[in-house]
C-alpha cells in the first residue's frame, strides 16, 4: 500500500485530498502511477494532462516522473508551486 495526496487545483477537481492505493506489479515509477490514475476517466483523465504540468513528491521530496515508488511511500501530486 502507498498513500497518495493531492493538492491545490488537483484536490479541487477530484474533490478529495488523499487515498490509500495498492501498488501492482506494473506500477513501478511515478509516470506509471500517473498513467494508471489517468485511465480512471472523468476528472482523472485531465489530472496529468494539459498545461498544469503536474509535479510529484515522494516522502516529502520533489522527484522526477522516472522516480521509483515502493510500498509504504507517501506520494503527492500537485501543480507547479506558487509560494513566495
Amino acid at each position: 500500500m502507498i498513500k497518495i495526496l493531492y493538492f491545490a487545483r488537483l484536490k479541487e477537481s477530484l474533490k478529495f485530498s488523499s487515498e490509500d492505493f495498492q501498488l501492482t506489479e506494473n506500477i513501478v515509477t511515478v509516470a506509471d502511477l500517473m498513467a494508471h490514475l489517468s485511465a480512471r476517466g472523468d476528472a482523472w483523465g485531465a489530472l496529468f494532462a494539459g498545461k498544469t504540468n503536474t509535479r510529484a513528491a515522494i516522502n516529502h521530496a520533489l522527484v522526477e516522473n522516472s522516480a521509483v515508488i515502493k510500498a509504504g511511500d507517501e506520494v503527492a501530486f500537485f501543480p507547479p508551486v506558487t509560494g513566495g
Partner: protein, 153 residues
C-alpha cells in the same frame, strides 16, 4: 537556520534584529519581504489564500537554507512563510540572510527566493471580481532558478 510556517503575521524588524545580533562579526543583513498585491494580471485582488503541504513544507525550506549555506559563506538564514487567507498589503514571506560582507548575503537571499518560488510546496489562489482562480506558476521563476546552475553566479 530558522524556518517557520504560520498563519499569523510577523514583525520583520524584530526578526532582522534577532538575526543580525546572533554574531558580532555580522556585517551584512539582506532581506526580502513579499506582500499581497492589490492587482494581478490587471485585475483587482480582494484576497489571497495560501495552501501548503504541511508535512513537506518545513523540510523543503530547510533544504533551501542548506543549499544556500553550501553555496555561500553566510552566517545564518531565516525563512518565515505565511499560509491561510491574506488581504492586499499583508506580508506573505520573509527571507533574511546574514554574512560578513554584502556580496554573499545578496546572492544567498536571491538564491533562496528563487528556490522557494520553485521548490517549496505552496499554492496561491486569489479572489476578486473575476471570482476565484489559482495563480499560475511563471516560467520566469524557473528561469530565475536555472541561473544558479548555469555558472552565472
Amino acid at each position: 537556520m530558522t524556518v517557520r510556517v504560520q498563519t499569523a503575521d510577523f514583525d520583520a524588524g524584530f526578526e532582522l534584529n534577532q538575526l543580525r545580533l546572533l554574531r558580532p562579526d555580522t556585517g551584512a543583513v539582506v532581506s526580502f519581504i513579499g506582500q499581497v498585491r492589490d492587482l494581478n494580471e490587471g485585475d483587482n485582488v480582494s484576497s489571497l489564500t495560501l495552501e501548503h503541504y504541511p508535512e513537506m513544507t518545513e523540510k523543503a525550506l530547510q533544504d533551501i537554507i542548506a543549499k544556500a549555506k553550501s553555496n555561500w559563506n553566510i552566517f545564518d538564514a531565516l525563512i518565515i512563510h505565511r499560509v491561510g487567507t491574506l488581504k492586499p498589503t499583508e506580508q506573505i514571506v520573509l527571507v533574511a540572510v546574514t554574512s560578513a560582507h554584502r556580496g554573499e548575503a545578496f546572492k544567498a537571499c536571491e538564491f533562496m527566493m528563487d528556490y522557494l518560488k520553485t521548490e517549496a510546496p505552496f499554492w496561491k489562489k486569489e479572489k476578486g471580481v473575476f471570482g476565484e482562480r489559482w495563480i499560475e506558476a511563471k516560467t520566469t521563476d524557473d528561469d530565475a532558478k536555472l541561473r544558479w546552475t548555469a555558472g552565472n553566479n
